[in-house]
């Protein structure tokens, strides 16, 4: 009982070679990630995962919300929705690994910006509009700002970043704005 959880056999790792080449999470840390994943619901997730189970077994969103790294995140619901295959927040192990890979330190800026845009686009209309910003503000400040203050801030944000004057931020404008935010790379990351 003292041994580490055996997650992948060597053969499976070889089959799963894509890990090294498509994730930014180091291969050695995959064990840790899998341990975390399994801890959420040990009765559902097997100790040794077969290859196709990595993308078929789903964890309901209530389980992932309890993870320490995500519990306090105001955007957690939206993050799970974005990364899950079924767009409802239920993550498979592949989605989970994908998510942690995007949030790791080694992921390049472009990937982070892309996913940040999708996270902040709450209504999925491919634009970050005033409603999205308002929602983000409410989540960020836990409803402590008044409605006028929120409106003022939303106006200011749109004023700062909107280039083509349509009153909302497209992907290009969002990317342009985020490139000016040097903390983005350091805040938009989760350590495992």
């Amino acid at each position: 009982m003292g041994n580490k959880l055996i997650t992948f056999t060597d053969q499976q790792l070889v089959n799963y070679q894509l890990n090294e080449e498509s994730f930014f999470v180091a291969k050695q840390q995959h064990f840790r990630v899998y341990k975390k994943f399994r801890e959420m619901k040990p009765d559902v997730i097997p100790r040794v995962m077969k290859k196709n189970e990595a993308y078929s077994i789903k964890l309901p969103v209530e389980c992932t919300e309890q993870l320490a790294e995500f519990r306090e995140n105001p955007f957690k619901q939206r993050i799970f929705k974005v990364f899950s295959r079924d767009s409802r927040g239920n993550l498979t192990f592949e989605d989970f690994l994908d998510m942690l890979s995007v949030f790791s330190e080694a992921a390049p800026r472009d990937i982070k910006v892309f996913y940040a845009f999708r996270i902040y686009d709450f209504d999925n209309d491919q634009f970050v509009g005033p409603a999205d910003i308002d929602t983000a503000l409410t989540l960020l400040t836990k409803q402590e700002l008044t409605v006028e203050e929120r409106q003022q801030i939303t106006e200011k944000v749109i004023e700062e970043s909107d280039v083509d004057g349509d009153g909302k931020l497209s992907y290009i404008e969002f990317e342009h704005c985020i490139t000016r935010a040097p903390e983005f790379l350091s805040t938009f990351h989760i350590r495992i």
Binding site: K27, V163, I172, I178
Partner: protein, 772 residues
């Protein structure tokens, strides 16, 4: 229906369509899709080339095709240049659109991918923002194609490249695992956010810098002395000045000498005085080799100062670049806060609450700044004059305080020296007088910033400017106290009369081994500073925090609650580092002390941060913090460099001890060594200092500076031009899409009308045939 499914996928990942060949064959989508298309114009936009080139398969193929030297690509370009003169000529789009045309020409472009290109494509897959499943599909697709096997030299090159890549990845992974203090950093990050972590990374960086200095000094100065020094000290007959000095060092109590740096410590390797001034010789394999210790001493000093400067500038330029970008967009404050404000690393409920509050207060602060700006516009002239007057008064008070502190340090130093020179003082009083200057400096460093903090509220600055002013003033205080300290020592060690090499003191009235004396003073200052920092953190502040946590009293809360004030801790650290830099010249083994101090300092600061402090309300930005640290380091670097440079060039070294005993100044050793180099080198260096060389170089540098300034301003102008153009392009695109939509709709209406008409015609003919 494949068309329908394709459109469903479009909703999920709009703009990231998979460009299959279907998109290139047809100019417009099929009939069945048109209904869907004109209902939602945005989907039409996915057909645009700008969206296509981002698609997975096309990008990879096109990118790697660009890399290969491809004759047919060139041919395609020349054909198309005439057609595409006016539009922006993007290579990828050209190649993409030509795939359709190319069906006429023989398929020379279908260059079979070899192993290397396939491997490169897979590497590039990693960076694309698509879900894992798609990446796996793509990889399978790439792997299933036939690849040419490379042979011979190509294969060797490629295999080497692949092995190197794997090697570097493995090294970086294992380095990440072994990273010093990783768990501590994560812990702090979870509680306090990334700005505070930047400070701890800074301490780690300094620790490694000091470690490097330690290795350097140890290898080239200390080790040769230990191994090769074979001087014999004859204390019965004191012939040389060195023996006279060495034998007269009184060995007092060991504990006292450790704390004060006198006694046994004074005559040890720790201080400058011990090192010999001869060229050491040793034999290896029956060959006599020489090691010039004095020269090594100078060179290690120069090297570690240079390395420190380069490290500071390099690290600072990284942050500075980001700061410049940010400065140009000072206009992104709100967006920055909303989109980059939440620290995703936080996983502690208390810290999360604090962070929420911090973001809230920062937003409120921004709104307040807006309000203040409006108010300032509305200020009357009288009020403006009043505020200027107040600021002037406060600044003069600050200057007065700084001068007073400087004077106080000078007086205390002289007084304690006076008292120490009297022989009939008690042992315990002697101890007090030894440490009086250091205690004075430390006391000033603690109390005066509090006074500054109190004064700054009268100046009505905006919060950001307030923080900066406070920082600048405290920096001045710390560095000024150091400078006065140097000045008071300088008064004691310089030569007032003519330098006399026969006199054991060098000049009349000087202590016998003044470098050791200076080293001792710095040693004591460092020790005092460190000891007081530890005692304040672990005793005073801990008690305060303990009381504030357990007793619910407003007064106790006022004095007990502390926040982790980043500027103050940064100054502590930088001040320690400055002292170490100066100290290492006068006491080489102080490098050991420095490394140890920084190692312990990390844990001391961690304790102060996690146990004593609550997370502060101000949101510290990581990038801005790092550049601030480097600026403070850069400001204090000259304060460390100046005394060493002065010592090396002006002050005659002491005659009775040290590696530079027989010289008029330390720099003459370098000059003499230079004169020993071959004449070619000498004449070349001589040429470099003549006006014939210096003036053209100077003019060239000024021209370069002017050129870069011009390029910089042109780039800025370009940025505004491009921004405007972007807006216009957006309008154009919108206009064109609307027109296209209109056209499709009209076409669709026409066709449906035609179809209906035919159906009507059929029924008419049918009925007519029925009737007939």
């Amino acid at each position: 229906m494949s068309g329908g499914e394709k459109k469903k996928r479009a909703t999920r990942s709009q703009g990231w369509e998979e460009a299959g060949s279907e998109f290139y064959q047809e100019s417009y989508p099929g009939d069945g899709d048109m209904e869907v298309l004109w209902k939602d114009p945005k989907r039409l936009a996915t057909l645009l080339p700008s969206k296509q080139t981002r698609a997975v398969g096309a990008t990879i193929r096109l990118r790697t095709q660009d890399n290969r030297t491809n004759k047919s690509t060139v041919r395609r370009h020349t054909v198309n240049r005439s057609r595409r003169d006016s539009t922006v000529h993007r290579r990828t789009s050209t190649v993409g659109i030509d795939v359709g045309d190319d069906s006429m020409l023989p398929d020379l472009s279908q260059m079979r991918s070899n192993e290397e290109t396939a491997w490169e494509e897979i590497m590039k897959l990693k960076e694309l923002p698509i879900p894992m499943a798609k990446k796996k599909e793509e990889k399978a697709k790439i792997m299933s194609e036939e690849h040419l096997l490379l042979q011979g030299y190509e294969q060797f090159k490629w295999k080497r490249k692949k092995a190197w890549h794997q090697f570097t990845t493995r090294i970086s992974e294992s380095y990440q695992k072994m990273e010093l203090w990783r768990r501590d950093l994560k812990h702090i990050e979870g509680h306090f956010g990334t700005g505070v972590v930047a400070f701890f990374r800074f301490v780690k960086w300094l620790f490694f810098l000091n470690l490097f200095t330690l290795v350097l000094v140890f290898l080239f100065v200390v080790l040769p002395t230990i191994l090769l020094d074979d001087r014999e000290i004859n204390c019965d007959e004191e012939n040389t000045c060195y023996e006279k000095y060495y034998c007269r060092i009184n060995e007092s109590n060991l504990a006292l000498s450790i704390v004060q740096g006198t006694g046994r410590l004074e005559s040890s390797l720790l201080f400058y005085g011990f090192y010999p001034n001869e060229i050491q010789s040793y034999t290896i394999l029956n060959k006599k080799m020489y090691f010039n210790l004095p020269l090594a001493y100078i060179l290690t000093t120069i090297v570690y100062f240079l390395v420190a400067l380069v490290a500071i500038v390099k690290t600072g330029s990284k942050g500075f670049r980001e700061r410049l970008i940010q400065g140009e967009g000072q206009f992104y404050q709100y967006s920055n806060l909303v989109f980059g404000g939440w620290d995703f690393c936080i996983h502690n409920e208390k810290s999360a609450n604090i962070k929420h509050k911090a973001i809230f207060s920062e937003l409120k602060a921004l709104l307040e700044v807006e309000r203040l700006k409006e108010e300032r516009q509305g200020r009357t002239r009288q009020e403006r004059w009043r505020i200027i007057f107040l600021r002037f008064i406060v600044n003069s008070i600050v200057l007065a305080i700084l001068t007073l502190s400087g004077g106080a340090i000078y007086l205390v130093f002289n007084y304690s020296n006076q008292m120490l020179n009297k022989d009939n003082t008690a042992k315990i009083l002697q101890f007090v007088y030894e440490f009086l200057p250091s205690m004075c400096i430390v006391a000033l460093n603690i109390t005066v910033p509090v006074i500054f903090q109190f004064l700054i509220s009268y100046e009505h600055y905006s919060p950001l400017v307030q923080i900066r002013m406070a920082l600048i003033r405290t920096v001045f205080l710390r560095l000024a106290s150091l400078l006065v300290f140097y000045a008071s020592m300088y008064a004691k060690i310089r030569c007032t009369s003519q330098f006399d090499p026969d006199d054991c003191a060098g000049c009349t009235g000087r202590t016998n081994c003044w470098e050791t004396f200076v080293g001792q003073q710095i040693y004591k200052l460092l020790l005092t500073d460190f000891a007081i920092q530890i005692s304040i953190t672990f005793v005073v502040n801990f008690l305060r925090a303990f009381l504030a946590r357990h007793i619910r009293n407003k007064f106790i809360a006022f004095i007990g609650e502390q926040t982790f004030d980043l500027p103050k801790h940064v100054l502590d650290v930088v001040y320690t580092q400055t002292l170490c830099w100066v100290g290492i010249f006068f006491a080489p083994l102080m490098s050991v002390m420095a490394s140890l101090i920084f190692f312990v300092l990390f844990y001391v600061k961690k304790f102060a941060c996690l146990v004593n402090c609550k997370p502060s309300g101000t949101v510290y930005r990581a990038s801005r913090s790092t550049s601030m640290f480097m600026v403070v380091m850069l400001v204090s670097y000259p304060v460390a460099l100046a005394p060493v440079a002065l010592t090396m060039s002006e002050i005659p070294p002491s005659v009775s001890c040290g590696p530079f005993k027989s010289l008029t100044t330390i720099w003459t050793l370098v000059e003499n060594t230079f004169l020993d180099t071959p004449s070619a080198v000498q004449s070349m260096v001589g040429f470099l200092t003549t006006p014939a060389f210096a003036i053209p170089v100077f003019i060239l540098l000024i021209l370069l500076l002017y050129y870069y300034t011009a390029v910089n301003s042109a780039n800025r102008h370009m940025v505004t031009v491009l921004k405007n153009q972007l807006v216009l392009e957006g309008h154009d695109k919108k206009f064109l899409i609307d027109r296209l939509l209109l056209f499709i709709k009209q076409d669709h209406d026409k066709r449906s009308r035609l179809a209906n008409h035919m159906v009507d015609g059929d029924t008419i003919t049918n009925t007519s045939s029925l009737q007939s």
